[in-house]
Structures are given as structure tokens and as C-alpha cells.
């Protein structure tokens, strides 16, 4: 993975007014951070999720929700779902989602749209880069209007699988909108940062799964967070199971309802289809909050109005395949990282689709040991649609005072390429149970300290060892059925032996032994482990409050 380079258009750090931008295929968001607190900014329409759509009506430019409304009447002059086309040639783009708007065209070595963007002229060819620039300008304008200062720089989030060409194209598009790109940061990391900035215990060691469920794609990253240093262990990307697939489920459902009373299929006519689509999405969003939602469209097809309702249970049933697809994708990413679901401490649900309560519940049952951060499972959760922009704004706030050159050098591969521990390092108890002090996949150098309460007085041995975790599966035989209640006839499912999975430690290499003598009753032992960049280890140990202590070295392998 290449580092995310920043380019400059000459702004000096002191003159910077910086924002964070989440630039998606479906939506964009902008955020500003002040004093470590990020805030997502609404545009002039009052929207914080701004549809990434550009539309022209008689030369007048519309973006956001207003442009989205144009998908019904003016789809030819409306550009939507284009972000992933940046930096790609025509052969490698997927035009599926642009089908109901201006179609992408091959233009020289890039992708363009033929739209009529001026009041009275023929259509012009607008490259995807230019489309992006126009949207960036509008976003910067909204931010400037909000802050009263001309916003001129940004940190922008990108998917983890963006190629160097895509990155370069994104930066060019932003630069052309007079935005200096301080840094491109990965979307899942922005989400983790948004949470960690809020969290007192951001320094803790944890494995986080970030599921970014958007409109046209779902991206999963498994992230090792070690004392605020983030390492992506595995990723998975999916263009089949995403928010749009849920819209399709509802489109099909309501189309069939409509056909029951009418003769035409609204999916067969472009304008009817556009209406069906927009209303299905609205119904879907409503189902994230309420247990019942309306679907109502004026003149859906054949000039007939249509309205209907659906409850959440029914929705969850008809959309089950998509929900299951999300679960498989996310579990697959964990497997790719060579981890087990039990290794996961936190699941961050990010992206608009993550508002869906059913998905959060599925995550709770998939990851029994993890905290699932989503609106429906955690009251303090951050709005999943805002995580990326917030994270970007926080990062922008952190680095805005640095010279572009300085940022480039700090994000250089030579700085970011770091050795990571293969195994955990910890101590052994009297009965040979391993307690980790430094987790596996911790970037070195690293230092961790633990305090061990020692109940008995006397001399103790501190054994420093490596530990690997694995999953122990034990089957619990079902209890023989009680004859007394055997008269309830369906004695099927509970016959199967139940499997119980737990994470257990396996003791590996013994690294060192140390002794501390004459510990007082109910005393405490402090052990500090310091792993250097070359994997040499320094161990210090002492009785807390006692005098003396020891220090030992383990040489690098």
C-alpha cells in the first residue's frame, strides 16, 4: 500500500483553514474540528449527508438533495455515483449505478459525461475529474459559509483499496477546486479515530472491525489498535451487498404490490423506476427508526398514485439475503486476518446503511465478545454517516500546522513500515496460565506495564514468555430429555450437542526469568516490558513501593 501523499498548492500553514471531507459514491460530508472536537457541517439545504450528485437545469448547477431530485425528471443531465471512476480508464469502471443518470463515456484516457451544463448550448463533455472538482468547490463553499473563513485545505477519506492513480486523480480534482490536500486517510481509520478521540481509553489495545456499509459498496477492515497506533490486518470489499441492494429489495416488494392493483410494472419505465427507487430508499431509512414505514408515490406509473406500508419485521425477512451477505463478508475479513470472531473487541458500524438495526443485531450475535458500536446497540454511538468526515477533520486539525513537506516525510513508507510482534508477550502464573502484557500485532518499539497483585508474602518468580491464542472447541452433550415434559411433541433442535468456543492461550517460548524477593503480604509487583525496534527486550520489575528492583535485557533475535 502506498502512503497517502499530500500535495501542496502553496498555502502556508498559518493561512490554512482546514476541513475533513468524506467523499463517497453516494454521499459527501464535511466536518470541522475545533479543539479536538469535530462537527459535521450542514450544507445550505440543511443536509449533513450530501448526495454526491451534480445536476444542471437550464445551466443552473445543483448538488446534493436538490440534484438527487433531478434523477426523476432530468436524469440525463445529472451525474451520480462517480467517485470510483476517478483515476480509472473506461474499461475498468462499473457503470451499474450510473444507469439511471448520465452514462459514463470513454473520453481520451479517462471517463467523462455528456451533459448540458450551460443554459443554451449543446451538451458538453465533462470529465469525471471536473465533476469532482465542481462538487469539491460546492463543499468548500458550504464549509466557508459556515465558518466565515475561506476553506482552502482538507483531509479526505479514501477506501483502503484506492490505487495510486485514483489517489492522484482525487488530489488533482480537489486541487483544481483550490483545496490543498493535506493528506488522504483510509476511511475505516477515520472511523476509528472519530471514536478514539471521544474515548478516554483510546490508548487501549484492541482489535477493531470496521464495517463501512455504504450505498454502492461495503468495505471491511480489521484493525489492530495498539496504544493509538493503527494497523490494518485485513480488508474485504464488496460491490454486491450494499445499501442499494436493500433498496432493490424494497423496490421489488412495492413493485409487486403495485402490480397487484395495476397492470404495469413500474420497474419497466425509467421515470417510474426513479420514483420507486427514491421512495424505497426513504422507506428504508424510516425503517431504521420506526417499526413501521409508509411508502407513498404520486403518479408512480400509469398516472396512478400508490401508497402502502411495511413493518420492520417483514422488511428484515425479505432483505435477509442481503443481511446475511453482510455477515459473511465481515466474518470473511476476520478470517483473512487469521483471527477468530472471539478475537474481536470492537465492531464499528460505519456508513449510512449501518443505521439498520438488524445489521447491528447480527453483529452482536456474530461477535459475542465485542462491543458493537451502532445507534441501535450503543446509545453513545456516533452517527455512522458522520464517522469518516469527523475522523478526517480530527486528522486535519492535528496536522494543519505542518508544512506540506513535513507531512509528506512523516507519512513516508520508511516511517510507516514497522515490525509487528507475532506473539503476545506476558507472564505466567503459578499454575502456568498466561497473562499478556503486550498484545500480538503490536508495532515496535512498544512499552507496556502491568501491576500484579501478589496475595502471599515471600519470594516470587517472574517468567516472561510468549503466548499465542487459539480457539478451544468443546461440545456440550445435551442433557438427556426429561421424560416428564417429553409430551410436547417437537423434540428436534435441542437434540444436537452444543458447541462451545473459547479463546485460550498457548504458552510459547520462555524469554526470561526474574526473581523478586521478600514481597510483603498483599504487595504488588510491577513488570514493565519494553520492546525495541529491533525486537530486543528490556524487562524491569520491582515491588511497588519497595526499594530496588531489577532490570534485564533480552538480545534481539
Amino acid at each position: 500500500m502506498a502512503t497517502t501523499e499530500a500535495t501542496t498548492n502553496g498555502t502556508m500553514p498559518n493561512d490554512r483553514h482546514t476541513i475533513g471531507i468524506s467523499f463517497g459514491n453516494s454521499n459527501n460530508s464535511i466536518a470541522i474540528a475545533v479543539d479536538d472536537k469535530a462537527e459535521v457541517i450542514a450544507n445550505e439545504d440543511g443536509d449533513r449527508q450530501i448526495p454526491a450528485i451534480l445536476s444542471y437545469v437550464e445551466g443552473e448547477e445543483y448538488t446534493g438533495q436538490q440534484a438527487k431530485a433531478q434523477l426523476i425528471r432530468n436524469s440525463k443531465n445529472t451525474v451520480a455515483y462517480f467517485r470510483d471512476f476517478l483515476g480509472q480508464d473506461f474499461a475498468s469502471i462499473d457503470p451499474t449505478h450510473s444507469h439511471a443518470s448520465a452514462h459514463p463515456q470513454e473520453h481520451e484516457s479517462t471517463v467523462a459525461f455528456n451533459i448540458q451544463d450551460k443554459a443554451d448550448s449543446e451538451t458538453s463533455t465533462v470529465t469525471v475529474s471536473e465533476v469532482a472538482t465542481r462538487l469539491f468547490k460546492r463543499l468548500a463553499q458550504s464549509a466557508s459559509d459556515y465558518s466565515g473563513k475561506t476553506v482552502n485545505s482538507a483531509v479526505i477519506t479514501i477506501p483502503t483499496n484506492f490505487s495510486d492513480k485514483q489517489k492522484a486523480a482525487l488530489i488533482t480534482a480537489a486541487n483544481n477546486a483550490d483545496l490543498e490536500v493535506l493528506q488522504l486517510i483510509h476511511e475505516p481509520i477515520a472511523a476509528v479515530l472519530a471514536y478514539d478521540a471521544k474515548n478516554e481509553h483510546s490508548g487501549s489495545d484492541k482489535v477493531v472491525v470496521v464495517a463501512d456499509l455504504g450505498g454502492t459498496r461495503s468495505d471491511v477492515a480489521v484493525v489492530a489498535a495498539r496504544n493509538g497506533i493503527y494497523t490494518i490486518l485485513a480488508t474485504a470489499h464488496d460491490y454486491e451487498f450494499a445499501g442499494t441492494a436493500l433498496d432493490v429489495v424494497l423496490q421489488d416488494h412495492f413493485a409487486k404490490e403495485f402490480i397487484k392493483w395495476n397492470t404495469t410494472d413500474p420497474r419497466e419505465e425509467a421515470r417510474s423506476m426513479a420514483k420507486l427507487k427514491l421512495e424505497s430508499e426513504a422507506t428504508k431509512k424510516a425503517l431504521s427508526i420506526g417499526t413501521n414505514a409508509n411508502f407513498s408515490v404520486e403518479s408512480l406509473a400509469e398516472g396512478a398514485d400508490f401508497s402502502s406500508t411495511i413493518n420492520r419485521l417483514r422488511y428484515e425477512m425479505i432483505a435477509r439475503k442481503v443481511f446475511d451477505g453482510f455477515s459473511r463478508l465481515i466474518e470473511g475479513a476476520v478470517k483473512k486476518a487469521d483471527l477468530d470472531v472471539l478475537d474481536i473487541d470492537e465492531v464499528i458500524l460505519s456508513g449510512g446503511t449501518s443505521h439498520t438495526p438488524k445489521i447491528a443485531r447480527n453483529m452482536q450475535s456474530l461477535f459475542p465478545k465485542a462491543t458493537v458500536l451502532a445507534p441501535s446497540t450503543t446509545p453513545t454511538a456516533i452517527n455512522p454517516s458522520e464517522l469518516q468526515a469527523r475522523g478526517a477533520a480530527l486528522q486535519a486539525n492535528l496536522i494543519q500546522e505542518y508544512e506540506a513537506e513535513d507531512i509528506e516525510q512523516s507519512t513516508h513508507a520508511a516511517v510507516t513500515t514497522v515490525k509487528h510482534l507475532t506473539n503476545a508477550i506476558g507472564v505466567l502464573s503459578a499454575d502456568d496460565v498466561f497473562t499478556p502484557i503486550i498484545a500480538a500485532e503490536t508495532a515496535v518499539p512498544a512499552r507496556r506495564t502491568i501491576h500484579i497483585s501478589a496475595p502471599a508474602a515471600g519470594d516470587v518468580l517472574i517468567k516472561i514468555v510468549e503466548g499465542g491464542s487459539h480457539i478451544k472447541i468443546s461440545t456440550i452433550e445435551p442433557k438427556p430429555k426429561d421424560e416428564a415434559d417429553s409430551d410436547d411433541s417437537d423434540d428436534d433442535s435441542d437434540e444436537e450437542p452444543e458447541e462451545q468456543r473459547e479463546k485460550v492461550w498457548k504458552v510459547g517460548t520462555v524469554l526470561a526469568e526474574a526473581s523478586i524477593k521478600g514481597i510483603k503480604k498483599c504487595g504488588k509487583v510491577e513488570v514493565m516490558i519494553n520492546v525495541a525496534a529491533d525486537l530486543a527486550v528490556t524487562v524491569t520489575a520491582r515491588e511497588v513501593g519497595g526499594k530496588g528492583g531489577l532490570r534485564g535485557n533480552i538480545t534481539a533475535p
Binding site: M1, T3, F90, S92, D94, P95, T96, S98, P104, I189, V223, N227, I229, Y230, I232, E240, K321, G325, G332, Q395, I399, Q409, S410, T411, H412, A413, A414, T416, T417, K419, H420, L421, T422, N423, V427, S429, A430, T435, A443, V444, P445, T449, I450, I452, S453, A454, P455, D459, V460, K463, E466, G508, E513, A514, S515, V525, V537, G552, I554, P557
Partner: protein, 444 residues
């Protein structure tokens, strides 16, 4: 940074005699690490960058060098799934989707049931990139979107776990025909049949499926394999080949009829499939040299056992016979020896008897030679008394003493000399308490 974690645990007591300089012993080394890319984001990274850079400036070369070692987390999207597209396939009609080879449509012919969900998704995307009608339209072609619909249908089936199993159940192209006897010879037997059962194994509810093995597989492995396939638990089902059920509401009877027919057909096919598999296993087993080998080995082992048993029995009989003979011989020898001993004893006894007789004659002769200790011709009374006393003494002493006494008397003719010997003897006997004083008067 005074941050620490609190834990409660019992540390091991220091073993007796544990000693180390500075109370610390290094014993091992940390396992080799993986180079990974940390995310240049957040306040903790800034601190790391400050330390790592330490006023250094890195070059493009440093970057290339560093990136070379990093473990990749993003998969390479290009390549892998590329298969020429059959023009016949491209002109397919999606309406006939049941007859379409969904794997071939997505370019996954060689993967089939083995294709992962991720492969299917990627293959789909590749096909969309190429065949999306909007792209063709943009390129000025007005081709119909028939094949694109085939792609969508294939993806719909293959990304739905239930539908995919139904399709995989009847995916004949994944089947491997059993080899003919002529072909399956020697080592080829194992290769060909292994492929057959590997394909059959895809239907197993229990995974992983045991391998067919080769000529060197142990009996246990081979037996496990056949046991597994003789008790095969298959998820294979045949609803994919159902006749379409009319979905208009009017014709309920017809609908029920078709459903019933379908159900029966599924059951029948399922039964046939079980029989087919059983037959396949029979066939493989019949030609399996390993089974023959194990049988031969088993019967050889059995024969050996039998022979050993017979030999042992024979030997036992012979041993018993030999023993009996030896015993008889020994008994005979002992008997003979006893006989000899007895004979010899008899002779000795007779000799002793004879010696005693002879010595007795010497004793009697001695008194006669001494003229019965009388001066002049002894009268009968004297003779009687003397002989009587001689007999008394004789009766009191054993043959050896008789012999000794006879030895002393032998050759003596003189009256006093003879008398002295007898007198000494009588005194000895009185001394030994064998004679009473005065019991024999004539000899003193």
C-alpha cells in the same frame, strides 16, 4: 507515562536454589516479526513519526525499499479469473437460465463448486465491467443485453447459498466419471478414482472428506475411506430440476399436482443418487488392489497362525511322546539299578554271613585248639560250658567285632594265649556293659 494494567494472579514461588546475577536470566528470543504498514493517522502516530524520522529525510528509494517488505493487505484485483468466452454462450437467452452453466458465464469453469464467494463477486465485477449494456452503448454498439442478464442471473444464483447448493447439486460438469477397468490400472487407479471421490465429496455434510489415498496407504486409511463413503451423509438435492409450478391463483389443483409430482421426483432422484454412489464405492472397492492386498495379508496372517498352531500341537505331541519315552527309560534304568544294587547287597550279605560263619568257626575252633582250657581230655560238661559261653559272647557282638576277635584268635594254639584274648574280649564287653560280670565264667 505511568499507565499500567492491573491484574490479579498468583506468581510462582521462587524455586529452591534459583540464582541469577541481577536476579534475571535471559532464556529465549522474541519470535521474528512481521513488517506491516501502520496508518499515518492520529496523535500517537505523530509521536511515532517524530521519533522515527529524527530529522532524517527519506528518499524515493527508501520508500521502495520499505514497501517491498510490507505485508500486503489488499488483494490484487487483476488476473486470476480469465477464461475465453464461448460465442455460443454470449448469445444465450437469460430466460433459459436453468440450463445455463452459471460458472462458465462468470468465467469460473475450472473452479465450479470450489469457487469462493469472493471469487464469484470478483468474477461478476469483471464481467460487468466488460458486458454492461451502458458501456456497449457508449461504445456505439447496440447489442442487446441478453448476456448481461445471464451474468446477473448467474451471480444471483451463485451468491445465494441456498440456490447455489441447488445448482451445485445438479452441476454435471463438476462430476468426474468413474474410470473404466482398463484405464484404472496400476498407479492410475488411485489417481483416477481419487478424482471421482474428491468430486463426490463435495456433497458431504461432513467436511473434510477422507482422501482416497494411494498404493501405500495404510489399511486404517483405506478402511476409513470406504466406511465414510458407505455411510455418506449427502446434502445433494434435486429441486433445481423441478418442473415450473404455475403461479397463477386460479389453477390450484394443477399447482398442487405439479408440486406433488416435483416432490416425488426429488425423492426418487435422491434415492437413485444414493444407489449410484453406493455402486461407485462398490466398483472402486472391487478393483482396489489395496483391499486385495490387505485380504491376502490377513489370510496369510491367518494361515500362518493356523500353521503355527498345528506345528505347536505336533510339537507338543512329540514333546509329550519324547518325555514319556525318556521317563520310561529313566524308570527302567532306575529299576535296573535297583536290581543290581539289590543283588550286590545280597551277595555282600551272604559274604558277610559267610565271613561271620567262618569267624565263628575260628572262635569255636580257638577254644577247641585251646583244649577247652582243660588240662587233659576235657569232659563233655566242660566242652559244653565253654562252647555255651562262646555262643553267648558271639551273640553279644556284631560281625565286625567277631571278625576282629577272630583276627586276634587266628593262629593262636596255646591255651593261655587263647584264654587271654577271650578274657580281654569279655572284659571289654563287660566294660561296655554288654556282658554282666560272671555271665561267662569259662572264658575269663
Amino acid at each position: 507515562m505511568s499507565k499500567h494494567t492491573e491484574v490479579e494472579l498468583t506468581l510462582p514461588a521462587l524455586p529452591q536454589g534459583w540464582e541469577a546475577e541481577g536476579n534475571f536470566k535471559a532464556l529465549g528470543k522474541v519470535t521474528k516479526a512481521t513488517e506491516r504498514s501502520i496508518e499515518p493517522v492520529g496523535p500517537h502516530f505523530l509521536a511515532h513519526a517524530r521519533r522515527a524520522r529524527h530529522k532524517r529525510t527519506f528518499s524515493e528509494d527508501d520508500k521502495i525499499q520499505a514497501e517491498k517488505n510490507v505485508k500486503k493487505v489488499e488483494d490484487d484485483d487483476s488476473g486470476e479469473i480469465s477464461e475465453p468466452e464461448d460465442p455460443m454462450m454470449l448469445s444465450r437467452d437469460a430466460k433459459d437460465w436453468k440450463a445455463q452453466d452459471h460458472y462458465a458465464v462468470l468465467g469460473l469453469s475450472k473452479y465450479r463448486y470450489k469457487a469462493t464467494e469472493e471469487q464469484i463477486k470478483r468474477a461478476h465485477r469483471k464481467k460487468v465491467l466488460r458486458h454492461h449494456p451502458d458501456k456497449k452503448a457508449a461504445a456505439g454498439s447496440t447489442e442487446d443485453d441478453g448476456f448481461f442478464k445471464c451474468i446477473q442471473k448467474a451471480t444471483e444464483v451463485l451468491l445465494d447459498p441456498v440456490k447455489r447448493r441447488q445448482f451445485d447439486s445438479v452441476d454435471e460438469r463438476a462430476e468426474v466419471e468413474p474410470p473404466s477397468k482398463k484405464l484404472a490400472k496400476g498407479d492410475k487407479f488411485y489417481k483416477l478414482w481419487a478424482a471421482v471421490f474428491k468430486a463426490e465429496g463435495r456433497f458431504s455434510r461432513t467436511q473434510p472428506v477422507p482422501k482416497f489415498g494411494d498404493a501405500n496407504s495404510t489399511q486404517e486409511v483405506v478402511e476409513d475411506f470406504y466406511n465414510f463413503f458407505y455411510t455418506f451423509d449427502s446434502w445433494r438435492s434435486f429441486e433445481y430440476q423441478d418442473e415450473d409450478v404455475p403461479d397463477d391463483n386460479e389453477n390450484r389443483d394443477q399447482k398442487r399436482h405439479v408440486e406433488k409430482k416435483n416432490n416425488n421426483a426429488r425423492k426418487k432422484k435422491k434415492t437413485e443418487d444414493s444407489a449410484r454412489l453406493r455402486n461407485l464405492v462398490d466398483q472402486a472397492m472391487a478393483g482396489d488392489e489395496r483391499i486385495k492386498k490387505f485380504r491376502q495379508e490377513a489370510s496369510a496372517a491367518k494361515n500362518k497362525k493356523k500353521n503355527d498352531k498345528e506345528a505347536a500341537a505336533k510339537k507338543a505331541v512329540e514333546d509329550a511322546k519324547a518325555k514319556k519315552e525318556a521317563d520310561a527309560q529313566a524308570a527302567k534304568d532306575a529299576e535296573e539299578k535297583a536290581k543290581v544294587d539289590k543283588e550286590q547287597g545280597k551277595k555282600a550279605k551272604e559274604a558277610a554271613k559267610a565271613a561271620v560263619k567262618k569267624n565263628k568257626r575260628v572262635l569255636k575252633g580257638s577254644v577247641k585248639d585251646a583244649n577247652y582250657f582243660a588240662d587233659g581230655a576235657p569232659d563233655a560238661k566242660v566242652i559244653d560250658a565253654v562252647l555255651n559261653d562262646v555262643e553267648i559272647v558271639q551273640g553279644k557282638i556284631d560281625p565286625d567285632e567277631i571278625a576282629a576277635l577272630a583276627g586276634k584268635l587266628n593262629g593262636l594254639k596255646v591255651k593261655d594265649e587263647v584264654k587271654a584274648v577271650w578274657s580281654e574280649e569279655v572284659k571289654r564287653l563287660i566294660g561296655a556293659g554288654k556282658l554282666k560280670d560272671g555271665e561267662v565264667k569259662t572264658l575269663v
